[in-house]
Amino acid sequence: MERRSKLLSNLDWTTVFIYILLVLMGWLNIYAAVYSDEHSSIFDFSQRYGKQLIWIGFAFLLAIIVLFSDARIYSGFAYVFYILIILALFATLMFGKVVNASKSWIQVGSFAIQPAEFAKIATILALAKVMGRYNFKLNSFKSYVVAGFIAFFPALIILMQNDMGSALVFGSLIIVFFREGLPGWLLAFFAFLVMLFIFTLVFSTSAIMVTLLLLAGIVFVVIGGKLKAYARLLGIVLGVGVVLYFGSQIFSWKIPFNYIFIIPILVGVLAALIKAIASRSRIVFYSALFLLVSVGLSLSTDYVFEHVLDVHHQKRINDLLGIESDPLGWGYNVNQSKIAIGSGGFLGKGYLQGTQTKFNFVPEQSTDFIFCTVGEEWGFIGSFVVILLFAILLLRLLKIAERQRETFSRIYGYGVVSIMFFHVAINIGMTIGLVPVIGIPLPFFSYGGSSLWSFTLMVFILLKLDSDRYGALG
């Protein structure tokens, strides 16, 4: 009895409240997205909103089970969960069913489960376990290899399932590494690589620019031996690039896309050359040589993509980014999604009054593009509230993570934040054309049991660990 009252008083009720709010809002939006004149009963279990209601019931049940469980099992069985989920991922790879070209679902009875969703929890638990060991420090090559393996091995299997979106999610765990001591410039470099990687695949012409930059880096690091200087340089390049890119996206500056790459690189190369001349060595010669080689290489990259690779290879590369799951072409979908959200205006069209989402103009409107319904029916106000709720939740979870006494719990908390943050930012970002279309769900909003349960478990395990943070004392 005493234990229960302690649980209730130690529980972070703010988080629970926001969680419930988001789940209910999500459900209302699924109802709106699927709503039609024929099936208007809220409890029609043949419809998606009816089914989602069942998933939500289960999710609440899961939350309660977690809260009344023993907090020690999550750290104690972290590796067991991890190994089990790795096995499940392999099993999916072999026996799973193919949906939208990716083999990431496994059929259990009458419904399908996506093990990749649960792999996220198991991975951050295992990562927290490894990095939370008493004498573990992120300062040696070995420590990076071990932690890196734990964090990214599941992503590799998921990638083999051809589910690029879910695999990319694991990349967000770099934030955990950063919190635990990864040098800041490496984080910047990682972010830079991720962005360039995505952009290169989506826009083949910019492959040129990536090659140029990487080669400039090699010149600088190998010849100049100045890793930190290059990182600083890259920071400049990245900064200019980001300003140009988002500037053009948000304020519709008329900058041709390639220039967003070319301008920062020119700035960077110029800076590098000045540096090279200043140090008065053979660097100028090498720079010229490398520039020459890089231009040649970049031109051939373009040539290889267009002429050497045949169409199905090109398609496969596009597939990686989910462009192919978009039946009418990439520009069309994002445009429709933007129209749906944009037409919502400041106040929105009102609940169930959205038209764009209702007539199937937006694909996957109850799953990956659920935010369109929010944007269209609730307008900017509603979108803002949703994002604000996510922001409060994420900051709250960060705060919870920081106040943990156990390293394990803190790292786990950061893992939860990283993954949820990635989902929110990428999902909403893609619906408004800020990032390429990567098929990952919006936490608590998108239709589907696996995603809802996995995020529920994630959050409530953290809340359980949190409520138990004095547990060791009494």
Partner: protein, 617 residues
């Protein structure tokens, strides 16, 4: 890591989260509040996809005469939620339908796939132009309704229904398997319409419009950036001679059977008559389903394309093939003589009619002597060189197949059948291994037994003989759109396994069968024409369905063949009685464009051979 650094990192991560989410909020504010591109004047904007249906390609005959064109009809579309109540009777009268039909249309409207009260749905299909013109004047009184033009087939001449095929709405299966098609689209279902669907259909286009809450078009969406233009279907030029086809259909009225005429030099099909036939325009428009049902339940099976799907025993016409195989294999010489005393008496025996005796190979073809070919056939099969009956049959079969028998010829029509040439394994199964001999299968000698072929294969056979040893795959389309080239397979020469020198002896026999002196014994003298030398062979094919089929095949002129023809008249009796005169009239019509024997024409036209089925000879 120092405590300060830890606090810093907490701050940096929080900063990243806030910054990224802030970027999203700014972007959202921009597209939702500042940028007006995404907001249109009315509150409820919906895009309207108006499909631009391309005009289906036209079909011409070999002389440029139009066979198939298009005509405009209208589908009546309705946006249910915009409909105001109206007088059903008046509405029905305006559209020339009954009030029940109106009610029924509205009830079934809601059952349509993807039904929405806000979308324009098809209420009534294929309304004729005059009705629509009347309705359009009153359209303002019926908000929510509109007319969408569609094109359907129009047949300039009411011929060649089987060959042309018909067009209908796509079925669910096709829609699921082919992303090009959507509910309500038309597709070629049979005949040329099916084979050349891809060429004929063209490419659909789409115009995307923005419409307001009253479904009024406000203008093109994104200035037509996502629109596409419809591409017209390509026209087909066929090899058919429309006049000859029409004449053939006329001759076959009240008869069951088929005529196939081929230009032997090119493999082009000049006419392909199947009887009974039907008017192709029956399968167009709103009565299509009803007419189709009626045709389908007709006991004479008018939808069945006999020319390429009916399997008949070739009968005596097949003797020419056995003669050629015998000559090639060296078991018979042109001057080899056999005597015939009214039949082949070994085993169960095969009867023969009365003619002079003994006779050589040419005469045997001229008089169609069964006995002669029983000798020839048995000598082929029992040739000691092969060692066994099985091997003998294999050799025979290989030769027969080189004439285009036993497999599909590959004409550009769907559902062609390949016929049957029995194999050793077939007889091993039918009797038992070693349980049969050349005598058991003796009926193959005179084209009976387990052998069967389509009328097209028969025409192709006589075409091969006219060419003295080769054929080109029969085909119906000469050119598609502007390009003159067609599938390469139609210009490939298929050589038989028989040396061309042997053909002359057989052709001589076919010549004599038609053109011998009176009393000379020729079986097809009724087919003779004064100025054109026709070479032909009669056949009387026994079958389990009743009276014998009357068969005849021929080519003409003898020295420069321009037409090869096969005629089958089911359950009509001797080949010479019906099939030969029909072939002769067809040849004369094609080569001279006139008819010099009106008595013969009348004799055919007035004959009604429909009710002979089931009666034994």
């Amino acid at each position: 890591m120092s405590l300060k650094l830890q606090t810093d990192r907490h701050f940096v991560v929080s900063g990243i989260v806030v910054l990224v989410l802030l970027t999203i909020v700014i972007k959202l504010f921009y597209i939702q509040v500042i940028d007006s591109r995404y907001k249109f004047s009315a509150q409820n904007n919906v895009l309207r996809y108006v499909t631009q249906y391309p005009v289906r390609g036209l079909i011409y005959d070999r002389n440029g005469k139009l066979l198939v064109s298009n005509k405009v009809v209208y589908d009546l579309l309705v946006v249910k939620r915009l409909v105001k109540s109206f007088d059903t009777t008046e509405f029905a009268n305006l559209l020339d339908i009954s009030t029940d039909q109106v009610r029924e249309a509205f009830t079934s409207l809601k059952k349509q796939r993807g039904y929405s009260s806000r979308k324009a749905m098809v209420l009534l299909k294929q309304l004729p132009v005059d009705v629509c013109n009347r309705f359009r004047e009153q359209l303002f009184r019926y908000p929510g309704f509109e007319l969408q033009p569609r094109t359907v087939r129009k047949y300039e001449r009411h011929i060649a229904a089987h060959m042309l095929g018909y067009v209908g709405e796509v079925d669910e299966n096709t829609i699921n398997n082919n992303s090009y098609y959507q509910l309500g689209d038309y597709i070629g279902i049979s005949g040329l319409e099916k084979t050349y669907e891809k060429e004929l259909r063209g490419k659909k286009g789409v115009n995307i419009y923005m419409v307001d809450v009253h479904n009024r078009i406000k203008g093109p969406y994104e200035n037509g950036k996502f629109d596409s233009v419809a591409v017209e279907g390509k026209n087909l030029e066929t090899t058919i001679d429309a006049d000859l086809q029409e004449y053939g259909e006329k001759l076959m009225v009240n008869k069951i059977g088929s005529i196939v005429a081929i230009d032997p030099k090119t493999g082009e099909v000049l006419a392909m008559v199947t009887s009974p036939s039907y008017d192709p325009s029956l399968l167009v428009g709103r009565e299509r389903a009803q007419n189709f049902m009626q045709l389908q339940t007709d006991s004479l099976k008018p939808i069945f394309n006999r020319s390429i799907m009916a399997l008949y025993p070739p009968g005596s016409t097949f003797k020419v093939v056995n003669a050629l195989i015998g000559l090639q294999e060296g078991i018979v010489h042109p001057y080899t003589q056999y005597s015939c005393a009214g039949g082949y008496t070994v085993g169960r025996g095969v009867g023969c009619h009365i003619h002079r005796s003994p006779i050589n190979l040419t005469e045997a073809i001229e008089m169609s002597c069964n006995t002669y070919f029983c000798h020839v056939f048995r000598n082929i099969i029992d040739n000691p060189e092969y060692g066994s009956v099985e091997e003998g049959l294999n050799v025979w079969r290989k030769h027969v197949e080189s004439f285009g028998y036993g497999h599909k010829l590959g004409i550009d029509l769907p559902n062609e059948l390949g016929g049957i040439v029995p194999s050793t394994s077939f007889y091993d199964k039918y009797f038992r291994k070693g349980g049969w001999s050349s005598l058991t299968i003796i009926s193959l000698a005179i084209g009976q037994g387990e052998l069967s072929a389509t009328p097209l294969q028969m025409a192709n056979l006589v075409s091969t003989i006219a060419n003295r040893g080769y054929y080109l795959t029969p085909h119906i389309v000469k050119s598609i759109g502007d390009s003159l080239s067609i599938d390469e397979k139609f210009s490939q020469m298929h050589r038989t396994t028989i040396d061309s020198v042997w053909y002359n002896y057989v052709i001589e026999g076919m010549d004599m069968a038609v053109n011998c002196e009176p009393g000379g014994g020729g079986t097809a003298r009724i087919a003779a024409l004064p100025n054109i030398r026709i070479c032909g062979k009669t056949g009387t094919s026994q079958n389990p369905h009743g009276k014998d089929h009357s068969v005849f095949f021929a080519f003409a002129p003898k020295d420069d063949p321009k037409i090869a023809i096969s005629v089958y008249v089911e359950n009509a009796g001797f080949g010479a009685t019906w099939a030969a005169p029909i072939a002769s009239l067809m040849i004369e019509k094609y080569l001279t464009d006139s008819i010099s024997r009106p008595y013969l024409e009348n004799y055919i036209l007035q004959a009604n051979l429909l009710n002979r089925r089931g009666k034994t000879k």
